[in-house]
Every structure is written in structure tokens, then in C-alpha cells.
């Protein structure tokens, strides 16, 4: 008998069949994903999840008999029947007829679980980060060698001398290889020695030591180490996405929630769609700070509102880390539209002079109350709208209800469409 442990076999043997199935079911799966999105939190988008699809075009038909005609059946568990009894058909109480076990209708809807990856694939299928092509150099990646520890084989040019000698010394000490000084000392003793017997003993000792020296080499092939390099892909086209958000007290929880949802989508979208995109989160009240993702979404802050502070922070981050020559810069800002009057000029100046010239794209999302009157225009909206009509690369949208987030998001990032359109 053989026992084989198959658990270590590569996983995902069914993956290819699954992909074929999804490809075949693409249309209906997309429909199902859209439907399931309406009822679910955006946060859950990250989880993928179960969808139910109709089996159109997915049946595996075979020639079977239908339910018509005369049927005979043998069943176990008779309790009261005797031959010749007549049982009324379906639903006729008193024990009733045995249920016709789901013929056909069991397969009408087919439920299965999409992984997160698959779900996002379907979900973001026709979205694209706008204008990445413009400054993109090439799709290919550089590979450059990066130090990656030591190895026991390699080219002589890569010998790691320090490591090799250290190992050699460890080995010499462990094997008690006599050092030359010890031998020299003995030789001196022999020279100074006058008694024959003692000298013979000493000479023997020296001989033994010298033999040991010959046996234990100074550097053994097992000591030799080489510097190891690994090729690491270096992105050529790279993009950075700035997420700016107003977290001042004028933003209600509802607005923050909307903004968070928008960024969540953005985050999913970016982390899914482009491999070489970095994210920078800047939140601001009357002063701005760069924070990590967790703080950005979940940590409370209060204060006044100075939009220019965020733009200023963004500018300094760009100057420090993302030079426009090497990076495609994208920004998305979410705010309730409030800005202190005195700040307007500074905001405009920063935008037109520092931010917009280096940005590929700047999206502004104005979040409002669910029941807001649509006519009133906020200070920021007016400013951005003016800049936009002057030809700046700006997209501005308003969102009042969480149901609108996704359509707006799609609109902003729809593949192959002009970006200079305003939804009012």
C-alpha cells in the first residue's frame, strides 16, 4: 500500500474551470453584482460575497423524462395504507402524497460565492483612472538587483569578504586551530631550553600543532559566502493619489460618512486597478496633517475650516516626496463646501499655481445633507466652478445621499469619457 500526502499539492486546481465558468456567466454575474451592491454597505465590497444568478445559458441539459404520464414509485415507511387506497393529490391532508422532490425548479437560481478579487473585477470592470496614459512612460517594468542576504554560491566578484572571514574565524576557533603565536612561543621555549628530555617533549608538541594547522585550513570552502542579489521590479509609470478631506466641525457625521464611502471606493479602485499607485491621506480642519489610512477614516477631529491648509500640505508632500517628473499626481477632495471667506484667495492661488499645474486630475466631491436644497451654491463650489470654466483640469460633483456615491464615482472614472462635465 502507498500513502500519498496530497495536501501539499498546489492549490487552486479548480481555478481555471472557475474562471471559465465566470467568463461564461459574465453578463449575469455583473447584473447580480450591481443588484447586490444596492443593498450592501460599501465597506462590505471588500469582502466579495455571495451572489445569486439565473441559470440562463448555464444549464447542462440532458434527455430526461418530464413529469407527465403514469408513474410508479416504491417508497418506504408505510404506516396505515392498504392496497387500493386512493390518496388525493398534492395538499390533500392526512399524510398526503409524497412530495415530488424538486423536479427542475431547484436549479433556476444558482448561488455561489465570489472571492473579493473576482467581485472587484466585475465591480470595477469598466472604470479606469483617468489620463494615466498622458505621462506614462511605458508599461514595462525595470528590474534592478537588490541585495538579498548571502548565499553559498555565486560569482567570485561577489565574495562577501567580511562574512567569509568571520565564518572562517568561527570555524577555526571552534576546531581549536593553533595560532602562529602559540607555535612561535613554543619555538622560543625550545631555543631557550637546555634539558634534552624537555626539548623533545616540546618538539613533539610543536609537531603536533603544526600537523593540526595543516589539517585545519585557514579558510575552508565551507566558509565562503557570496553577496546575493534579487531582481526587483521597479515601476516606471507611477502615480500618487492624494485624498484630501475636510473633517472640521461643520462636517456632519452624515457628510463624513459620504466622504468616507467615496474614498473607500477610491481606495478599492486604486489598490485593485493599478499596482504602482501610492496613497497619501491628508485631512484638514483649520490646519492640515498627513495621516495614515486608519486615522483618516476613523479618528475624530474638530476645528474650523481652512481649505488652503490642506492644499499647502499637499504641496509640501509633493515637493518632498513626489516630484512631478517621476510621478503622475491625482487628487480627490471631499468637503461640505465651507471655507472661511478670507481663505478663498489663498486657495485659488495655491490651486492654480501649485497644485493644478502638476496634477493630472483633481476631483472635488461636495457632500451635503440628504435633504438639502439643490440651488444654494457653496463658497468652494463657486470657486471650483469658476476655475473649471477657465479650463483647469477639475471635476466637481455633488452627493447628498449614499445611494448616489457609486453612480457619481462611476461617472468620474468611467472609461474613455471626457472629464469636463458637471452634474448639478
Amino acid at each position: 500500500m502507498n500513502i500519498v500526502d496530497r495536501r501539499l499539492n498546489p492549490r487552486g486546481k479548480a481555478l481555471e474551470n472557475r474562471q471559465r465558468f465566470l467568463r461564461r456567466a459574465k453578463g449575469v454575474v455583473q447584473q447580480a453584482v450591481k443588484q447586490s451592491l444596492q443593498s450592501r454597505n460599501i465597506r462590505d465590497v471588500l469582502d466579495g460575497g455571495e451572489v445569486s444568478i439565473p441559470l440562463d445559458g448555464m444549464e447542462e441539459p440532458s434527455l430526461r423524462r418530464g413529469s407527465g404520464g403514469t408513474h410508479d414509485r416504491v417508497l418506504p415507511g408505510n404506516k396505515t395504507f392498504i392496497e387500493g387506497d386512493v390518496l388525493p393529490r398534492s395538499g390533500g391532508g392526512g399524510g398526503g402524497t409524497p412530495e415530488k422532490a424538486g423536479e427542475g425548479d431547484g436549479e433556476d437560481a444558482f448561488r455561489f460565492v465570489l472571492t473579493r478579487e473576482e467581485f472587484l473585477n466585475v465591480f470595477l470592470d469598466d472604470l479606469e483612472l483617468p489620463d494615466l496614459a498622458k505621462r506614462r512612460l511605458t508599461e514595462t517594468e525595470h528590474e534592478s538587483p537588490v541585495r538579498a542576504g548571502y548565499s553559498v554560491s555565486g560569482s567570485p566578484a561577489n565574495i562577501a569578504v567580511n562574512r567569509t572571514t568571520r565564518l572562517a574565524m568561527m570555524r577555526r576557533m571552534a576546531l581549536r586551530r593553533p595560532n602562529p603565536e602559540a607555535i612561535a612561543r613554543l619555538e622560543a621555549e625550545i631555543a631557550a631550553c637546555e634539558e634534552d628530555g624537555l626539548r623533545l617533549v616540546l618538539e613533539d608538541k610543536v609537531k603536533a600543532l603544526e600537523a593540526k594547522v595543516r589539517r585545519i585550513p585557514y579558510i575552508d570552502p565551507v566558509d565562503v559566502r557570496y553577496r546575493r542579489y534579487e531582481n526587483e521590479p521597479k515601476p516606471v509609470a507611477q502615480a500618487v493619489m492624494f485624498c484630501l478631506m475636510d473633517v472640521s466641525s461643520s462636517m456632519t457625521e452624515h457628510m463624513k460618512d459620504l466622504a468616507k464611502r467615496f474614498y473607500m471606493l477610491l481606495y478599492i479602485f486604486l489598490s485593485r486597478r493599478y499596482r504602482h499607485v501610492e496613497l497619501v491621506f491628508i485631512r484638514h480642519t483649520d490646519r492640515a496633517e498627513e495621516v495614515d489610512e486608519e486615522t483618516f477614516f476613523h479618528s475624530p477631529a474638530t476645528g474650523g475650516t481652512l481649505v488652503s491648509s490642506a492644499l499647502e500640505a499637499m504641496r509640501s508632500v509633493i515637493a518632498k516626496r513626489y516630484s512631478p517628473e517621476d510621478w503622475n499626481i491625482y487628487a480627490a477632495q471631499a468637503s461640505d463646501g465651507d471655507n472661511s471667506y478670507s481663505d478663498e484667495a489663498a486657495t485659488e492661488r495655491l490651486l492654480t499655481e501649485a497644485i493644478l499645474p502638476v496634477s493630472q486630475y483633481f476631483a472635488y466631491l461636495e457632500v451635503g445633507d440628504a435633504d438639502r436644497g439643490s440651488s444654494s451654491q457653496s463658497a468652494l463650489w463657486k470657486l471650483y466652478d469658476k476655475l473649471r470654466t477657465e479650463g483647469a483640469p477639475l471635476s466637481i460633483r455633488r452627493v447628498g445621499h449614499r445611494g448616489e456615491i457609486f453612480p457619481v464615482f462611476r461617472e468620474l472614472f468611467q472609461r474613455g469619457q471626457g472629464r469636463e462635465r458637471v452634474a448639478s
Binding site: V4, E59, P61, D72
Partner: protein, 515 residues
């Protein structure tokens, strides 16, 4: 029965490979020594839950060609499993030599013992000795053949595109239930040769290829229209109930690779055909064997009382047969029915009553239960097994009854027989018939085609008891037949008086013709 008391095989639930080896050896000792089983060499493979799901979706075989339908099944099983609606099988066993049994890594040591006894000895013996498997399957060759099939289909996909191959496979799968030879007419199946034959055919084609033939002007074709209908049919081997075989051999416009794909699907259908006909016997045998082995192991002290109770618990789950009015009732449980019948045979052989002597004069009281059972396992299939060996005693025990649902009977469903003197034989005949695959599958034959004329293919469904085909599915299957045949196809549903009850017609789709 002179086996010395055994060492305890394991304690608790944990196991390792040494434990498995000990368990296997102990089971083997009992299976071969006491029960006299004859098995293929065993190969035991330990797998994870995901791999078990994998195996589920590709009909249990360790390697299979790629097709979307397997992905669909996988997704479905996985969803059920994730939600906890369904447990996975403890084991899957493959009719091959060596006989491969998959064991789940989650199983406890007791479960592994049960599974090894069940699959590696019960099923294994049945595969090796049952006449159907001997006639129709080639245990040595199957894995190699599947490997060939997988490679061949992958190469076809490279050469002719995934879509074309997928369409051919879809069509072939739809006809799988009608792609088997039901009567052994030819020499024994040798799957190893299949692969060689395919290679030879290709080599031969390449050798005799001469482009000149294309340029030779074709003379007026010989008139064959006056051949009689009778001769035409004989020449094509009609009527033919193996639809896949007929299409493979005679469809006028199939490419060579499409024929080979039909052949592959047909061979695989043929390989599984015996399993369809022996569900009750196969599971009954395995259940009976594991019950005997486990009991014996416990008697010999190789399994502790606690572990034996654990075994009994899962054993009784396996052989649980809910009554017809139970919401859990799925039909007859093949494990339960098979096991009960095997035990009943054991009872008849060793301690018969007067009734048994009348019903089973050959075996009643003959004393050696294992000899009788081994003979039964070797020479019967479900249908013949039930019609021979379902005893009145067991029918009473299971309280079986028979229903007749006739639409003409407007008052309702009639109880046509119960477990009494008048009913035994009728119930037994009826139940046996339910396990007769050639009775439960609709009988569909290709009856005529005029290759020289309009080439329309005529199929005929001989309707029994007024049961017509499922409309939607029939239309879809007919469509795929038309796609393969490349000309119109007509299916008539005919009752015993030759009246046509219904007619389906399908024309080939343009896309496939172009492909």
C-alpha cells in the same frame, strides 16, 4: 476466525501516517483473511477540504480536462459547504489500479479506519470483481487515458480556440447519458490502446496526405438513391441508441478533432456507466464490509469502546433511511438499502426461516454467508440484485409500498401494493425496475438518415407510460445534436402503437457551422 487479539491501533482522535499504515494492515488482515476479499493494490491519499471539493466537481477523478461546468459545480458545492449546509464526503474512491482512495485530513482516526475499510476494501473489492466493471472499465488504463484526454483537449483549445472546443464539449456532455453501449458486443475496452490508436490515425492521415487529390475533378457521384431504406439503415448501423457513437462515426461535417472529443466523452461515459447501474450494490458492499471489519477490529481489541461508539454513530447516520413522509426523505438511501439487503442475505444464509427457504431455496441455510455474498457482488447489478434478493422479511421491515400515479385516475394516487403476500413480488419488480438504467433513461434511438438526400437525422423516443421528454431540456439537447450533425434533426416521441405524440425539430446554428 483464529486471528490473535490485536494491539490497540490508536488512542483518541489523532493519527499520522504510521497510524494509517497500521490501520490499513489490520483491515487488510481481516478483509483478505476472514472475509476473503480480492482487491486491487491500495493507494491512500490524504487531501484537504478544498481538494475534496475539487474532486467533487470533476466527478471524483484526480485529473480531468477543463470545462466551465466543473467550475460551476465547484462554485455550487463550495457555497453550500461554506454556509455549512452540507458536509463533505469522508472519502472518494476511484476505480483504478492501484485503487486510489482519498481521505479527508479532518477525519478522526476512527473515521479514517471506517473510510479505509469502506473504500479501500469494500469498494475496491466490488470494482475488481463485479462483472459490469470487468466488462466495461479498464482500471489499469483509466488514469493514463484521462491524462491523454486532458492533454488532447488542451491541445485542441490551442489549435482551434477555446470557444469551438467548449461548444463541442457542451454538446457531447448533453448526450453523455446516451453515449454508452449497453450490450457488450466488442472486445474488452483497452484505454491504453485508445491513445495509441489516436496517434496512429493521425500519423496515417499525415502519411497519405496528398494535396493533388483536391484538384482531381469529381465525376458525377454514384447514384445511391435507389438503395432500399432497409439497406441504408443497415449500412449505417441503424437503429442506434448510442447517439454519441453514431455522431462520432457518421456526422458528415465534423472535424477529426471533434470526433476525437466525442470519443473521449463517450469513453468516459462508458467508464461511469457501471457505477450508475450499481449504486445500491456498490455502497451496500462497502457499507457491509466496513461494518464487518470495524466490528471485528473492536472484538479483537484493536479499537477502544469509545472509538467504536463513534464509528456506530456515523455508521447509523450513513444507513439512516427516513420514511416517505419525513421532510428529509430524498428517496431510497442506497447505503441503507444495500446494507440492509446484504445483512438480510447473511441472515438467510445462516439462520433462515421457513419463508426464506421457500423464497430462496438455493442460498437459505447454506451456511457460508461470505461465499454467497461474494458471488452476489460479482454477478449482479442493482436491478437483478433487487429482483432476486429483496426478501419479504426486509420488505416488511422497511414497510415498503408502491404507488401508482396515473393522470387518468382523477381521484388521486392509488396505493398499488403494500408489504403483504399479494404485494411482495409486485413491489420487488417495481423497485428493481426503478434501478434499471435502461428503463429510467428514456429510450432514444437514431432511426433514419438519408445521407444522399436532405441528410435530416431522424430520432425516435419510444414513450413508455405516456412520459414525454422534458420540453426545454429536450430542445436544448436536440439543438446540440443539430450543431454536431450540421443538418436538421427531428425527434419524434412515439408510443407503443406507433402514434406520434410529439415532435421536436432543430436546425444547426450558423456559428457552429462556420467553426
Amino acid at each position: 476466525m483464529s486471528v490473535a487479539p490485536m494491539e490497540r491501533l490508536f488512542d483518541g482522535a489523532d493519527w499520522n501516517f504510521a497510524t494509517l499504515q497500521r490501520i490499513h494492515d489490520a483491515c487488510e488482515q481481516i478483509a483478505l483473511g476472514e472475509l476473503g476479499l480480492d482487491v486491487y493494490p491500495n493507494q491512500i491519499e490524504v487531501i484537504t477540504a478544498e481538494q475534496m471539493l475539487d474532486a467533487y466537481s470533476s466527478t471524483g477523478m484526480p485529473l480531468f480536462y477543463k470545462h466551465w461546468s466543473f467550475g460551476k459545480h465547484f462554485a455550487h458545492h463550495e457555497a453550500l459547504y461554506r454556509k455549512g449546509l452540507r458536509d463533505l464526503a469522508y472519502e472518494i474512491v476511484i476505480n483504478s489500479s492501484p485503487c486510489v482512495s482519498y481521505l479527508m485530513e479532518e477525519n478522526t482516526a476512527t473515521m479514517q479506519t471506517l473510510v479505509i475499510a469502506h473504500a479501500a476494501f469494500g469498494h475496491n473489492h466490488f470494482f475488481k470483481n463485479n462483472y459490469l466493471f470487468k466488462t466495461w472499465t479498464d482500471a489499469e488504463g483509466i488514469l493514463d487515458y484521462l491524462d491523454f484526454a486532458k492533454g488532447y483537449i488542451a491541445r485542441c483549445e490551442e489549435r482551434y480556440g477555446q470557444v469551438a472546443v467548449e461548444r463541442t464539449l457542451d454538446a457531447a456532455h448533453a448526450l453523455m447519458s446516451h453515449g454508452v453501449h449497453r450490450h457488450p458486443g466488442k472486445s474488452k475496452l483497452d484505454l491504453r490502446q485508445e491513445e495509441q490508436r489516436e496517434r496512429d490515425r493521425r500519423a496515417h492521415e499525415e502519411q497519405i496526405f496528398n494535396d493533388l487529390w483536391r484538384t482531381v475533378p469529381a465525376g458525377p457521384s454514384k447514384s445511391i438513391s435507389n438503395i432500399s431504406l432497409e439497406r441504408r439503415r443497415t449500412a449505417l448501423g441503424l437503429p442506434q441508441d448510442n447517439l454519441l457513437y453514431f455522431l462520432e462515426k457518421s456526422a458528415p461535417r465534423l472535424h477529426a478533432w471533434q470526433r476525437e472529443i466525442l470519443r473521449i466523452v463517450r469513453q468516459i461515459a462508458q467508464y461511469f456507466h457501471p457505477q450508475r447501474q450499481t449504486k445500491v450494490m456498490n455502497e451496500g458492499t462497502a457499507t457491509y464490509v466496513h461494518y464487518r471489519i470495524m466490528t471485528r477490529l473492536h472484538e479483537l481489541g484493536a479499537i477502544s469502546d469509545g472509538n467504536f461508539l463513534e464509528f456506530l454513530r456515523s455508521h447509523s447516520n450513513v444507513v439512516f433511511q427516513p420514511a416517505y413522509d419525513d421532510p428529509r426523505f430524498p428517496g431510497f438511501n442506497p447505503y441503507a438499502l444495500g446494507f440492509a439487503m446484504m445483512q438480510d442475505i447473511e441472515r438467510i444464509v445462516t439462520a433462515p426461516e421457513q419463508e426464506d427457504r421457500e423464497w430462496f431455496p438455493e442460498i437459505a441455510g447454506s451456511g457460508d454467508a461470505m461465499a454467497v455474498l461474494r458471488d452476489v457482488w460479482a454477478n449482479y447489478r442493482d436491478e437483478s440484485f433487487i429482483s432476486q434478493f429483496l426478501s419479504p422479511h426486509l420488505m416488511r421491515q422497511m414497510r415498503v409500498f408502491s404507488l401508482c400515479d396515473d393522470p387518468a385516475q382523477t381521484e388521486g394516487v392509488v396505493i398499488s401494493a403494500i408489504h403483504d403476500e399479494r404485494g411482495y413480488r409486485r413491489i420487488r419488480r417495481q423497485l428493481a425496475r426503478e434501478y434499471d438504467v435502461s428503463w429510467t433513461d428514456p429510450n432514444i434511438e437514431i432511426v433514419d438518415v438519408d445521407l444522399a438526400g436532405d441528410r435530416r437525422l431522424l430520432l425516435r423516443h419510444s414513450v413508455v407510460n405516456g412520459c414525454l421528454l422534458q420540453d426545454k431540456a429536450a430542445a436544448q439537447v436536440l439543438q446540440s445534436i443539430a450543431d454536431l450533425w450540421s443538418y436538421d434533426v427531428r425527434l419524434q416521441e412515439v408510443d407503443s402503437l406507433e402514434t406520434v405524440l410529439k415532435e421536436h425539430v432543430a436546425s444547426p446554428r450558423a456559428m457552429v457551422r462556420a467553426a
